[in-house]
């Protein structure tokens, strides 16, 4: 019955609440479902107990892979190649700056405070860095829609959010590969590189199977079965081998968008299933939260502060390094403060991983960040988009203007 209620909730959220909140209150929906999960979960009212969470596990695990596919689906090469290279450079700089800043802080805190050895501290630090890098595209889209404006700043935010997602997904996959737990049943344990290759192979084989399965099929029903089968198989396989489902899902999504002839239809399929699964994941994530055994105040506060510095400072540095500080201004990074579902997915992915170290602390940081930033992200993005002129001239020749 609980699953039905959650599904109904997810459905209603996807259908009505999200659009309404975005339109009327400039609020990116999501945080309220986390709070709902927290309230219903075993730590509060216990309406969602441990048994129910166990029953829900396949669904929120699937949500991770599905989200990876949805993110990968944004990487359509014809659009990517028309985007000025400058935008990628800026996106990568702010992304890496944030990762280094937050990851460095987390590692120094965990190793310096003696909570973990320097080597073991690298795992939660890397995952916190990956979570910090993730930014939401929704705020920028809501802002652009409310202003009726779509200038180069909006495209920059889209590119930055995409690169952030790519960096975050790769970071968590690499971290989990490096710290992968031994299987014990094999002649020799795979190396971290081999684990990473296995995770990537899962996504690539999923995409290949989809094509072998369908060929030039145009029927929506068969497309649905093929897409569902491929994403479910990929997610299940990645989790089964103890790796993140996000990277294989991402690769599958990227293959689908770039190779299928039914791009719009498949995109619609991916999007429509993603929405209810997303809200189910948020409620489940809230319910799964457990107070950390170690002190979380300092690391979480530090995470939030360094992320703010990383995003805003990284944005400024990126613009400065590329000679466009005056064009984009010093505060465009504010528009990337929104965390969105990917941050929760990264935290949840880590929480569910058998490899995880200090998972509760990392997950708490992700939840706090999403709860704080989702309410303001659209307003921050609106401020940035509104402050920039309708037409932005780049100092370097743009190869198409995206």
């Amino acid at each position: 019955m609980l699953l039905i209620l959650l599904a109904v909730l997810g459905y209603l959220a996807a259908r009505f609440a999200v659009d309404w909140l975005a339109r009327h209150a400039l609020v990116v929906s999501g945080a309220e479902y986390l709070v709902l999960g927290l309230l219903l979960g075993p730590r509060a009212t216990a309406l969602i107990g441990e048994t129910q969470l166990e029953a829900l596990a396949p669904f929120f695990t699937l949500a991770l892979g599905w989200m990876g596919a949805a993110v990968g689906f944004r990487f359509w090469l014809p659009v990517l190649t028309r985007t000025p290279g400058l935008l990628y450079r800026m996106a990568f700089i702010q992304s890496l700056f944030t990762a280094v800043l937050v990851g460095g802080f987390a590692w120094l805190y965990l190793a310096g405070a003696g909570l973990l050895s320097p080597v073991r501290a690298a795992l939660p630090a890397a995952v916190m860095a990956a979570i910090a890098v993730a930014s939401s595209l929704t705020g920028a889209r809501i802002a652009a829609k409310s202003l009726g404006r779509r200038n180069l700043a909006v495209r920059q935010l889209e590119v930055a959010a995409g690169i952030d997602a790519l960096v975050a997904v790769v970071m968590i996959a690499v971290a989990l590969a490096i710290f992968h737990q031994p299987i014990g049943a094999l002649v020799r344990e795979p190396t971290p590189t081999e684990w990473l290759v296995i995770a990537m192979a899962v996504g690539l084989v999923g995409g290949w199977l989809f094509h072998l399965f369908l060929g030039d099929e145009r029927s929506p029903d068969r497309l649905f079965i093929a897409v569902s089968g491929a994403v479910i198989l990929t997610t299940g396989a990645a989790n089964y081998v103890g790796m993140s489902a996000l990277l294989p899902g991402f690769l599958l999504g990227a293959i689908l968008v770039n190779t299928t002839r039914q791009r719009d239809l498949v995109g619609e399929l991916v999007d429509k299933v993603d929405r209810p699964l997303y809200f189910l994941m948020l409620v489940s994530a809230g319910a799964l939260w457990t107070p950390s055994a170690s002190d979380v105040f300092v690391p979480v506060l530090g995470f939030l502060a360094f992320r703010l510095v990383g995003k805003v400072g990284g944005g400024f540095l990126a613009a400065k390094a590329n000679g466009v500080a005056e064009v984009f201004g010093g505060r465009w990074g504010f528009a990337l403060m929104g965390q969105g579902g990917l941050a929760i997915a990264l935290g949840l992915d880590y929480l569910l991983s058998p490899t995880a170290i200090l998972a509760d602390m990392v997950f708490t940081a992700a939840l706090c960040s999403v709860l704080l930033t989702d309410i303001f992200s659209a307003r921050l993005a609106r401020g940035v988009v509104a402050s920039l002129p309708e037409v932005i001239a780049l100092p370097t020749p743009a190869e198409g203007g995206g």
Binding site: I4, L186, P220, R222, F224, G236, Y240
Partner: protein
């Protein structure tokens, strides 16, 4: 050729990935679910090229993947997917209810009931007689005294006679069959389900009085009556609720259809009523009470939602088949299958007189009754609760019989429908309809 490559790749990939992880848990369930969707669907397409029903492909893929053949799917992983089977049964019942025509029930209801009783009666007696004749080779009857043997043989016969609404619905959906034979087959399998459950409950109560088992009876007559009779008002209320909700929900009916089936299943389970009857009534009321074309659209949406669930449901039925056990029991299985099939043919010949069916239509009807699926296993579980000492061997024998009938039935039924000229008319809307409007098509994607 492409389908064979897909199948080989899938089985190969499962073989490669299996030693790299740990069985059990959500990941294993997802991996198995995804594998079964793709493998069974590819096998279904392969079989369809040979002009056989796709569900044969789903079953064969399940058998191949099962623990007794290639072992790609473990028993543990299959058990974690049990909710999928529950959802499939709910969808089947809802769809079947949605197909029932009120005019047909009024005009031919009594004739259909008579046919059901006659075919069930003849087939049960024939199976019982065969089981008693082969008693010394049937483990749970061999060592029993005469009274015990008779009672267990009766229970066994009642379970072994069951038909499969799931397979009949799947074949009708796939072949778009229409006409009197298709409608009558669907009505009889549904009616027989109710009749058998009722008779089984009464018989088990009687057996438990005569042969006290290790466990107390799982319910009195009152509970049995509530399970059956309570299903009707609860299903009607559920159906009315769905019809009302359809006025508001105009998009994403695919998701709505899935949720409606899941809700019905949960409500029936919570209130301890028969899931099948509840959803059957709900489907009937929802489609007939909905405004405009809302009912038809819901039915289309539900058929789309059911497609992947059916694929996995039948593949899981294949996984449950223990091939070595089925082969070892073939001396008993083959005569029982032959006698059951013959008895159904005779039963329909005598029982269908008032329905005005032609010879090919009667043939199609009895051939539609041959198929069996996993619902009967649920009844064995109830027997096991009271008599665990017989459950193992009875389950093994029934699984072997179901395995043979599950593969033989769809082939016969499709052939029968072809001979009766019932294919392609569309009593049940096609799962893949090229004329689907864009809204409905996108609805399927949710």
């Amino acid at each position: 050729m492409r389908r064979l490559i897909v199948l080989a790749l899938l089985f190969g990939a499962m073989g490669l990935i299996e030693p790299l992880g740990r069985a059990g848990g959500a990941a294993d369930a997802l991996l198995t679910f995804g594998f079964l969707i793709l493998a069974a669907y590819a096998a279904g397409e392969l079989v369809a090229r040979m002009r056989q029903p796709k569900i044969i492909g789903y079953l064969i893929a399940g058998v191949l993947a099962g623990p007794t053949v290639l072992g790609s799917v473990t028993v543990q992983a299959a058990e974690t997917l049990a909710p999928v089977s529950g959802l499939a049964i709910a969808l089947i019942a809802f769809l079947a209810g949605a197909e029932l025509d009120i005019e047909e029930i009024r005009s031919r209801g009594s004739a259909l009931l008579r046919l059901t009783v006659v075919e069930l009666g003849i087939a049960t007696v024939a199976i019982f007689a065969t089981a008693m004749a082969l008693r010394q080779w049937i483990p749970f009857l061999a060592d029993a005294d005469l009274q015990r043997a008779i009672l267990f043989a009766l229970l066994f016969s009642l379970i072994a006679v069951m038909h499969s609404p799931a397979i009949v619905m799947a074949i009708l959906t796939e072949t778009r069959a229409s006409g009197p034979a298709a409608r009558a087959t669907l009505a009889v399998v549904l009616l027989s389900e109710v009749v058998v459950v009722l008779l089984f409950s009464l018989l088990l109560g009687l057996v438990q009085r005569l042969l006290p088992g290790t466990d107390a009876p799982s319910g009195g007559v009152g509970i049995i009556i509530w399970e059956i009779a309570g299903s009707v008002p609860i299903g009607a209320a559920l159906g009315a609720g769905v019809a009302l909700a359809l006025r508001v929900v105009r998009e994403d009916r695919f998701v709505f259809a899935l949720l409606a089936a899941m809700l019905g299943q949960e409500v029936a389970s919570l209130l301890h009523v028969e899931v099948l009857i509840t959803l059957l009534v709900a489907g009937f009321v929802a489609v007939n009470a909905a405004r405009d074309d809302g009912g038809a659209q819901l039915r289309h949406a539900m058929e789309r939602a059911a497609a992947p669930v059916f694929v996995v449901f039948f593949a899981l039925a294949g996984v449950a088949i223990d091939v070595p056990a089925a082969i070892s029991l073939s001396l008993v299985v083959v005569p029982i299958v032959l006698v059951r099939t013959g008895a159904l043919a005779v039963g329909v010949r005598f029982g269908a007189r008032g329905l005005g069916l032609t010879d090919p239509q009667r043939t199609a009807l009895w051939q539609g009754l041959v198929a069996q699926a996993g619902v009967a296993i649920g009844l064995v579980a109830i027997v096991a609760e009271a008599y665990p000492e017989v459950a193992g061997s009875m389950r093994a024998l029934l699984l072997a019989i179901i395995a043979v009938n599950g593969i033989l039935g769809p082939i016969l039924f499709r052939r029968g429908l072809v001979s009766a000229g019932a294919l392609g008319g569309g009593m049940v809307a096609p799962a893949v309809d090229p004329s689907t409007p864009p809204e409905a098509a996108s609805g399927s994607s949710a």
